[in-house]
């Protein structure tokens, strides 16, 4: 009898776990992109948000797009997912990791085709190495910004 009750409890726990797992899976599936932190430039181009709507935009700072306005802290740059790009204007302090080619996430509103940012956050990628290793890679010609910098930054930003 004891064996039987043990097996009953085991079956019950396994079935309950499977049901809880399936229910959670369905909930997460239904939430879908709602759980994602930011929208891509392509999302903003294909479905333009209203001007009153506060949104998060994520992407790479386009190379050679950064412009600083003289006499103020205002910066302009373009955020790209390598398909579409959105012009961003921001007045404030940028995080240390901010640079061209870097992944960023910015909060703000679309005003007349320009993204007016209230906050700019830098995203860093999953690559860790000492500066000497980067120098060595560059020297031997194996440094591929596409692969080690831009490429992996682009992961999660491009479709």
């Amino acid at each position: 009898m004891a064996m039987k009750r043990k097996h009953k409890r085991l079956t019950f726990v396994l079935v309950a776990m499977a049901l809880v797992g399936a229910a959670t899976g369905l909930v997460l599936f239904a939430l879908g992109d709602g759980v994602s932190l930011f929208k891509s430039p392509t999302d903003l181009v294909t479905a333009p948000p209203s001007e009153s709507q506060s949104i998060r935009l994520g992407g790479l700072v386009e190379e050679e797009s950064l412009r600083r306005e003289t006499g103020s802290a205002t910066v302009r740059f373009r955020v790209t997912d390598l398909e579409n790009a959105v012009e961003v204007v921001y007045d404030g302090l940028l995080p240390d990791l901010f640079r061209e080619g870097q992944g960023i996430v910015t909060t703000g509103k679309m005003v007349a085709g320009t993204f007016v940012a209230e906050e700019v956050l830098a995203k860093h990628d999953e690559n860790y190495m000492p500066p000497e290793a980067v120098d060595a890679l560059k020297k031997s010609g194996q440094w591929q910004p596409d692969d080690a910098e831009g490429g992996n930054h682009a992961e999660g930003f491009t479709k």
């Binding site: 043990k6 997460l28 992109d33 994602s36 995080p95 956050l121 999953e126 000492p130």
Partner: protein
């Protein structure tokens, strides 16, 4: 397994293993922290701030590892009524909660200089916060019943249900876009972290695990002793 179900035999073995665990933990911490602060190189992008990783990442792994251990022990306690499994699950919760909190706190300290914010409600950070709440809920539920056995059963069920959060934490950075980076170490195409940084990280991670074993033994021994005292008191009351 049932050979160790006998608390007396367990106490004997635990008393022997515990000082070894303590010694291994201290040696690993000393080595890992020395490497993390002195021999590991700065990162090409993050500079010296990368050293927070040597505490942050092992702490986050510990938070999840302890939860998995707690859930498995809870399942064993529910299904096979193993007396030590119950005690082990109960002893694990505060350790896991402490390390989850440490991961959240160090992550926040790291986020400010690197990302530019202390906190963001992305899937990874939020699911990790839920893990902390699960630990707190587990401990609260356990103490919420006058009948200890009912409290143990209810909290074991909560531990099992909460286990669905573990794969969500792990894959949150792949399923949704987040501010938190994707995995650097445990991923399909191998670690994308320089060996000089990977070694101290792994040493710290193993040190955290042996710390858990050490504290777990201390806490289980304490719990068994407390149970013995309780039984003696009950006998005294009923006998007199």
């Amino acid at each position: 397994m049932h050979r160790f179900a006998n608390p007396t035999r367990f106490l004997k073995i635990a008393g022997y293993v515990q000082p070894w665990m303590a010694a291994v933990t201290l040696a690993l911490f000393a080595t890992g922290l020395y490497m993390a602060f002195f021999t590991a190189p700065p990162d090409y992008q993050q500079g010296e701030s990368v050293r927070i990783m040597y505490v942050h990442v092992p702490a986050a792994w510990m938070g999840m590892f302890c939860y998995a251990a707690m859930a498995i022990a809870s399942a064993v306690a529910l299904i096979w009524k193993h007396p030590l499994a119950d005690v082990a699950a109960k002893a694990t919760a505060p350790v896991g909660a402490a390390f989850t909190f440490l991961a959240l706190a160090t992550g926040s300290l790291w986020g400010k200089p690197m990302w530019g914010t202390w906190w963001v409600w992305d899937a990874r950070l939020t699911s990790m916060l839920i893990l902390l709440f699960l630990y707190i809920g587990y401990m609260a539920l356990q103490g919420a019943f006058d009948d200890r056995a009912r409290g143990a059963k209810a909290s074991a069920v909560l531990a099992l249900v909460g286990a669905v959060n573990l794969p969500i934490i792990k894959f949150s950075v792949d399923w949704w876009n987040t501010l938190h980076q994707p995995a650097s170490v445990i991923k399909m195409d191998g670690p994308s972290i320089h060996p000089d940084m990977l070694w101290p990280l792994l040493i710290m991670a193993v040190g955290f695990k042996t710390y858990y074993m050490w504290v777990l033994l201390v806490r289980i021994r304490q719990e068994i002793t407390a149970n013995k005292v309780r039984i003696l008191r009950l006998k005294q009351v009923h006998g007199g």
